[in-house]
């Protein structure tokens, strides 16, 4: 074989290896989805969605956990979104190259890399014990808000950065103040981008299990939360609880719970994608 042929062959080999590696991820995703749907689809029913957990697998449902997830994620959004977007506005529009914003920036990058289970320990020590909020919806939401905060800040900054500087300069030239420029010009333009980032950040937070378990959220909750002080569980914790049981029937429940969770994520991500397409010209 000539050297030239050998080189050609090696080139094809690398191309093939790259393609195989790329397909590996896609194939595993397909197998995972197929496995979960074949295990759990038979359990999905109106009863499953509207029943409380039970010691008998065939009677158990996801209602309490689903409502818990809705309560917690709503409160998480109310806490993390205003603070996160405000922080992003400061860093992007006011921050400049000062020492303070440099420190804050490095800090946020590091916070984004802290394992989420550590946020659970923070929630346990700070919200559950020190502030005596107990194992309540509000303590869980506060914990998840801290998990989501770095992601919210980073994605909002990206949306703000995409706004053309010419827009800001035109506004200044007309005599507008800094805040008037941000409020009337920059934010309306950046809004779809910020919203898309927020939905993606929150959809990732819905799947978080470790911080809530560590904070002390209950795994068996036979009632729906009735306020921010109520005890709660969420869908991923319910799934974890069912997976940990030896009986076959509970495993089917876990798969069905996962389908509900994935459906929730699909709706949120689909909405984000629709928003992005609609405003992207």
């Amino acid at each position: 074989m000539s050297r030239r042929q050998r080189n050609r062959l090696l080139d094809v080999a690398l191309h093939g290896a790259g393609l195989t590696a790329t397909l590996l991820g896609l194939v595993v995703l397909a197998v995972l989805l197929f496995d979960i749907f074949s295990d759990g689809f038979g359990r999905i029913s109106w009863d499953f969605l509207t029943s409380f957990p039970s010691r008998r697998a065939e009677n158990a449902g996801i209602y309490a956990a689903l409502l818990g997830t809705v309560w917690v994620i709503t409160l998480t959004a109310l806490l993390a979104v205003p603070i996160g977007v405000a922080a992003a506005i400061y860093l992007e529009e006011y921050g400049g190259r000062g020492r303070w914003s440099r420190v804050v920036e490095i800090n946020i990058t590091n916070l984004a890399g802290v394992p989420s289970v550590i946020y659970g320990l923070l929630g346990l020590g700070l919200f559950v014990r020190t502030l005596a909020l107990g194992r309540s919806v509000i303590a869980g939401a506060a914990t998840l808000a801290l998990v989501a905060l770095p992601v919210v800040i980073l994605s909002s900054r990206e949306a703000l950065r995409a706004v053309s500087p010419a827009l800001r300069e035109a506004s200044y030239a007309l005599g507008a103040t800094k805040w008037q420029t941000i409020w009337h010009q920059v934010l309306p333009v950046a809004f779809p981008g910020i919203l898309t980032g927020l939905i993606l950040a929150l959809s990732r937070t819905i799947g978080e299990t470790a911080p809530l378990i560590t904070m002390g959220a209950l795994t068996y909750v036979p009632f729906a939360p009735d306020g921010i002080w109520s005890a709660f569980t969420v869908v991923p914790i319910q799934v974890f609880n069912w997976v940990s049981r030896p009986q076959e029937a509970f495993l089917a429940n876990a798969a069905a719970g996962i389908i509900v969770l994935l459906a929730l994520l699909l709706v949120m991500n689909g909405f984000a994608a629709w928003l992005r397409d609609r405003y992207q010209q």
Binding site: L29, L124, T177, P236
Partner: protein, 296 residues
């Protein structure tokens, strides 16, 4: 509105925004102080030397022993398996997407890989325990129902999208001129990639691998579900082990009263986990900054 009043409002708004940005510093401060507070209490009863170098971890037994090494070994074992999957596969995916794939393929593949990254970790745990482990048991008869191998492999798939996207950024950062010079000398795409592009992107790729290791060490639900809860100082991937994160979950699920020694162990283990991931993240950032400067 008078000029003075307007200035005042502008100032107030800026300070409010600055306070929100500053809150993130408070979060870091909160993490460090909560962990440090309980860890210091823990070290009043258990010597740091025993904790860091002891080889038996039985904090819940009657014969208590607080050597964290079995948990560290479990964490390193699972992470090493994950990295063995994620690094080659992620790098090859990045090479394919950045150097070989037509734009149309890239547009379809990248969002699908992002879906892989967005799957909740509890779902991967289910997959590892109930699909991958039984599958592996057919090939490896000695494999127990809980083991390090299966969650390690699944975790590798989980961090693959992160590795491939960071590596792809690194490959994109290599100036086009370098590639064109190689082509002009008659190099094939494979020669250009392995002898020019990959060496030039090395610090960016190293940054990606360190970040992936940090993510693997901190990953919780996959190992809590599929690796078992037996702290064991071993490098055997076929038997049940326990990681630092899985231990924290195990204690959190039980009714351990606050203020007891067992309760404090999770903060001491958490501190060790926090410090390790922080050091890895800082190293990764430093490498990435250096990479950016090289081609600025």
């Amino acid at each position: 509105m008078s000029r003075r009043r307007r200035d005042l409002i502008e100032r107030a708004i800026e300070w409010a925004l600055r306070a929100c940005a500053g809150l993130s510093i408070l979060v870091t401060f909160g993490i460090v102080s909560v962990l440090a507070f309980e860890t210091v209490q823990f070290f009043r009863e258990v010597s740091p030397f025993e904790f860091l170098f002891g080889t038996v971890w039985t904090p819940l037994f009657f014969q208590k022993s607080f050597g964290v090494l079995p948990l560290v070994a479990g964490t390193l074992l699972v992470s090493a398996i994950a990295m063995t999957v994620a690094m080659p596969a992620g790098l090859l995916t990045a090479v394919y997407l950045s150097e070989y794939a037509p734009a149309r393929v890239r547009r379809i593949v990248k969002p699908v890989l992002e879906v892989l990254a967005g799957v909740p970790t509890v779902v991967y745990g289910y997959f590892a325990l109930l699909f991958v482990t039984p599958l592996l048991q057919r090939a490896i008869p000695g494999l127990s129902g809980f083991n390090a191998l299966s969650p390690g492999l699944v975790m590798g798939i989980m961090i693959l999208p992160m590795v491939s996207s960071l590596c792809e950024d690194a490959l994109h950062g290599v100036p086009r001129g370098l590639r064109e010079a190689a082509y002009a000398l008659g190099a094939t795409k494979m020669q250009t990639t392995t002898r020019v592009v990959l060496p030039a992107a090395l610090s960016g790729i190293s940054a990606a691998s360190i970040l992936a290791a940090s993510r693997a060490i901190g990953e919780t639900m996959i190992v809590a579900i599929a690796a078992g809860q037996q702290p064991r100082l071993t490098a055997n991937p076929l038997v049940p082990v326990e990681t630092m994160t899985a231990y924290i979950v195990q204690i959190s699920l039980g009714d351990t009263p606050a203020g007891t020694l067992a309760y404090r162990t999770i903060f001491a283990v958490g501190m060790l986990l926090f410090v390790s991931t922080l050091l890895l993240n800082l190293a990764s950032n430093w490498l990435r900054e250096r990479f950016r400067e090289e081609y600025a």
